[in-house]
Symmetry: C2
């Protein structure tokens, strides 16, 4: 795992003595062949990261530097996710605070391989309960049972109801519909309930990785959950999917990419019309022949919609006056 970064950080910490460290950390996502992947560093499942330094021109460029250096992969689209300080974080010392500024980056997995210590891993290796493309996975059912048990274990009636309620919303009990945007809430709930490895719970109650997912270093899995939640919410109102697409693509490619991110299936004809109506794409004139059925038209993203559409999204009953 990014030994270089770790070494450097230690050097700096040693030089400064007590103080505040600032780290940059990236959730780099690509969707090769309809599987949403995150770029990890080292054997221990870490997100690429490194300290923010005086030499960096900006936070973003610092992040780009680290990721490119560690993974060999240049970044395109970047947006800030969240900043947090840890107290409870693993390895945190009293006289040293660590601040992490996290980013979401969207890219395509290119042919030129990433560096040796970097790997593309499926989101759903870390969050098996999040992939509903083939119906609700087995993991969900098991976790539901565990969460109900956890809710019952609360000390007061109010606390039991509150736990039960939160679990029901996040994991869709009681005839609720599954809401794919609640990825972060679900992870936090499982953490609280001691059902993920990072929570450091009782080994006797430990679940297999196919249910509770692979753990990550420190709080990186929480950061990944934040990134997934943000992206799932964002694809609904901004055309960010196209950052993950090749220059030309069929409607099915596009749909499968959205489905991979959302973790659920969407309706083909309606999806097509949704995209067409917003004029997000235009025909290239070519067709893809390797579709297995009727050849599909190829499309490209109309980049100018980014300027053109300031996207109203009103939702308030405005007045004429």
């Amino acid at each position: 795992m990014h030994d270089q970064a770790t070494r450097l950080r230690k050097t700096i910490t040693a030089r400064k003595g007590r103080g505040i460290d600032v780290d940059l950390i990236a959730v780099v996502t690509a969707v090769p062949d309809g599987e949403p992947c995150v770029l990890t560093q080292g054997q221990r499942d870490a997100l690429p990261s490194g300290p923010f330094e005086l030499s960096h021109r900006s936070l973003q460029s610092g992040l780009r530097d680290w990721v490119e250096q560690q993974t060999g992969h240049p970044l395109g689209y970047i947006e800030q996710l969240y900043t947090f300080a840890d107290r409870d974080r693993v390895g945190a010392r009293r006289e040293q605070r660590n601040i992490s500024i996290s980013y979401l980056a969207l890219t395509r997995r290119e042919a030129n391989a990433v560096s040796r210590e970097s790997h593309w891993k499926s989101w759903y290796a870390y969050f098996p309960w999040e992939d509903h493309r083939s119906g609700a996975p087995e993991a969900v059912k098991i976790l539901r049972r565990r969460l109900i048990a956890w809710a019952k274990g609360a000390s007061s009636v109010a606390a039991r109801r509150e736990r039960r309620q939160r679990a029901a919303i996040a994991f869709a009990f009681d005839d609720r519909a599954w809401n794919e945007d609640l990825t972060l809430q679900r992870y936090e709930l499982l953490f609280e309930a001691g059902l993920v490895e990072e929570a450091g719970g009782d080994p006797s109650t430990t679940l297999p990785a196919t249910v509770s997912g692979k753990a990550m270093v420190s709080d990186h899995r929480r950061i990944l959950a934040t990134g997934i939640a943000r992206l799932r919410a964002k694809i609904k109102y901004r055309p960010v999917v196209f950052e993950l697409m090749r220059p030309s693509f069929t409607f099915l490619h596009l749909q499968q990419t959205v489905e991979a991110l959302a973790g659920r299936l969407i309706n083909k004809p309606n999806f097509r019309r949704l995209v067409e109506q917003q004029e997000l794409v235009e025909e290239t004139g070519e067709t893809a022949l390797d579709t297995g059925g009727r050849p599909a038209k190829l499309y490209r993203f109309r980049r100018n919609v980014l300027d053109d559409r300031a996207i109203a999204g009103t939702k308030l009953p405005l007045s004429r006056a």
Copy 2:
């Protein structure tokens, strides 16, 4: 302006030598009597802020400490806005980087006065072009002319078109509708065009404060713009307005608060139905008699909708399968 904070910061910086400073900074908003206000510190229009320190339990609690200490005002609802590092920031030194973690806080202006150096100031003193509650203000027309001139001053045809295009979107030229959510884009555009004081432009082209607005310390006005933009976007999909309301209120109070934030008028009957349909409020049983007309029913916020409604907000054509 928060001398204590400044002094402390200097002490720390001196002790650490070169390094990275982390500041917490708050956009504290209340809407007393239908005027959206921000809490400022000192005579020079600064947002309340202070360094993040080892003694703080978390970023949020550090922020609460600073704001309460500086302004005497306890905070309720808080959300993180954005984190940035400055290079170009006024007063930035080469060997010292400053990181600011900004927050949006919503509260009510309480009777117990804030401390002497704190003031509630209208948003629209800083952004006169943002208040469209009585139609497009004069400032908009003047700024439009200046922006058109600025666009013409670009070096290439492409750059001229690009500037003109951005200005047209942000300031609603060419029959475009005004989009209140673009507060940040508008401020950034004016900054680029040298039309706000912070841009440090030619004094001969300087506009009066009734047009270009009051300047703030450092980049605080940009942070305020970020807060306004976030809040304007958020009231459309989350019931955060209620953080600004008294425990009981009439529909008109509620509407006027939303109008104050959005900077535009909304349609009364439709607004009422929107709120009713989402079951956001319930009658208290009382009526307000001081309305000037027919007495209005008083309502309270149904706090449980926060749990209850995980808010679908789908917007993707999901599939049955």
